[in-house]
């Protein structure tokens, strides 16, 4: 088993800095998800750890040992690539067997090792096939099997579900956490899919432009995103972002939403009078009866039933569009005029100019709205 420690890693290509003084520690047995848009430097980071490219500055420690100048074959990591990177001239069996061959295992041990991991990943029946005869899902499983077979203490998975269809991705999202937990390995998992990140990560590191913007548990990333750029990709449907200017009255700090004053308890003083953006998760909004205090009048524009939830697009009297999400089978409005209320606890305030979240978590308390 092995922890992973990156210290002040810098990687440049020509004048472009891909990783900018990045430090990161992954505990032994932990699954860390690297999340971020294309070009954020996630894949480069993974390759640095694997040892196929070298950092310009900084240190890489695996299991406490300095591996910065150690060649890839001696680092003892397992890696699965986004494009599978199977050896096209070898059968699936030989593909999976390559890490064991490198260890000079006996033929019997190789066969036993490959068979067991193939059974685990349900590809035992296609082991004799060449990669070109495999479906995308089977290729992906073969690539995963090759990464797992040597029981490496550190596993690097570079968006392994990127190139498989939605159904398989869903299956694997359920299957992978158990698989990885059983192995007990330390895992660094790269993805651009927030659901994958939430499902697999013990912690998530959100990257952009070569820098880790936020590092925390999936819960923290979702509930307390450091800025708008992080709040936006986490959540489906996406978070509602509305321009507001918090003000103070006798009862505390409030924001005006469609002529209704929504009071924010524990909102930071610094937000008062500033141009802000309030972030409201669609599932924290609810349809309520007209006469409920603090209810915001809206018009229902469209309703999209998804399998497990219903997403409704509503428009406020000021013309702003808001998405409301509710579990399927719960009552709501699908046309005409309605009222929505904001559920407490999850409203987020961001600075309009910088996009950074202001202060600690803001707890929303609804007060009786007064027409302004």
């Amino acid at each position: 088993m092995a922890s992973l420690e990156l210290k002040n890693i810098v990687k440049r290509y020509k004048s472009h800095t891909v990783l900018d003084n990045l430090s990161l520690t992954v505990a032994d047995g932990e699954t860390l998800v690297l999340f971020g848009p294309s070009g954020a430097g996630k894949t480069v980071l993974l390759r640095l750890v694997a040892g196929v490219i070298d950092p310009d500055e900084g240190k890489i420690l695996i299991g406490g040992d300095d591996m910065t100048d150690v060649d890839a074959e001696f680092r003892g990591v397992g890696m699965a690539f986004q494009n599978f990177a199977l050896f096209p001239h070898m059968s699936a069996f030989d593909n999976i067997a390559t890490p064991l061959e490198a260890k000079r295992s006996s033929q019997g041990a190789i066969k036993a090792g490959v068979d067991s991991v193939a059974k685990l990943l349900k590809i035992a029946h296609v082991l004799s096939h060449k990669p070109r005869a495999l479906s995308n899902g089977q290729k992906q499983r073969t690539a995963l099997a090759r990464a797992l077979v040597g029981s490496p203490p550190l596993l690097l998975l570079d968006d392994p579900l990127r190139n498989v269809d939605a159904k398989l991705r869903f299956e694997m999202r359920l299957e992978l956490p158990r698989l990885l937990a059983d192995r007990g390995a330390t895992v660094v998992y790269v993805t651009q899919d927030y659901k994958e990140a939430m499902a697999l990560g013990d912690r998530i590191a959100v990257m952009s432009q070569g820098v880790i913007r936020q590092l925390g548990t999936p819960e923290q990333i979702y509930r307390e995103p450091a800025n708008i750029e992080i709040a936006r990709p986490f959540g489906d449907p996406t978070i509602n972002l509305l321009d507001v200017k918090p003000a103070r009255d006798a009862r505390g700090i409030y924001v005006g939403l469609s002529n209704v004053q929504v009071h924010l308890a524990e909102a930071p003083e610094t937000a008062i009078g500033r141009d802000c953006v309030i972030g409201l998760r669609p599932e924290s909004l609810h349809f309520v009866a007209d006469n409920q205090p603090g209810a915001i009048p809206v018009t229902v524009e469209a309703e999209t039933p998804l399998n497990e939830k219903i997403v409704t697009l509503v428009r406020t009297v000021r013309g702003r569009e808001i998405l409301v999400s509710r579990p399927a089978g719960t009552p709501g409005r699908n046309e005409g005029r309605a009222h929505i209320a904001v559920d407490g606890k999850s409203a987020l305030l961001f600075d309009h100019a910088s996009g950074e979240r202001i202060g600690a978590k803001t707890v929303v308390k609804l007060r009786n709205g007064e027409a302004a």
């Binding site: 890839a72 680092r75 990591v77 990177a85 199977l86 096209p88 260890k103």
Partner: protein, 285 residues
Amino acid sequence: MEHTSLIERILRGIALTLVVIFFMFPILWIFMMSFQTNETILRIPPQLIFEPTLANYTALITGKLMTAAGTLDIAFMRNLWNSVFLSVTSVAVSLLLGVPAAYAFARHKFRGSEDIAFTLLSFKFAPALLVLLPLTLYFQKLGLANTYFGLIWVYQLICLPLILWIVRGYFEDIPADIEYAYRIGGHSWFATFRKIALPLAGPGIAAAGLLAFIFAWNNFVFALVLASADKQPVTVGALAFITSSGIQYGQISAAIVLSITPTLALALYAQRYLVEGLSLGAVKG
């Protein structure tokens, strides 16, 4: 295609036949001439019906050329052997040097790598005749003139740049991730080169080798100037058929047939791998 009329198909067939005849006729005619005597060849008008004779082949193989002026010794079989030896060895040396070099140029961008690769390619820019004079003088000084070693060395000018640049392209087409995956699996760079890069670039190496072999085989000027009779390949040896008593068309034809056979055989054999290489490339990644 289903909508083409009968006439169209007939015309198409005729056109194709004409093209094939046009291109294949010289070879067919040479093949036929190789079984005729000089007299039947030079008959006017030429005739398709003749009494075949193996005399030309016998003359070449025994090395005794019967002409009107008497018997002449020719070293055709020796020349043929020289051609085989020079071409095979040159290509082998080129592959041995060029393939690892091509891999280095494809995978490792080191200081000046592009310049070195380009310099190697530039060997092919200068016309051979321009290089020949200084080369001959150097070779005489070094004692390399009229040696197999010297000839094979000069043949590297023909083979090495060709192999280097073709094979480099094939190596570059292999996704780097495939090689990374093998190395991360615990294999050395050399094992990766041998087990992954070489097999995947195999068809390219075969194609480059075949092409280099053909160029080496057909080379004329280098061998003409740098080698004397006992080291000369068939291309130069064929000059012996222009004798004082006339041109020996029959023997020349037989010599051509014998000398294109190895290249033809090699091309037909390698074709299998070339086609396989194309289909392997289609599913890459």
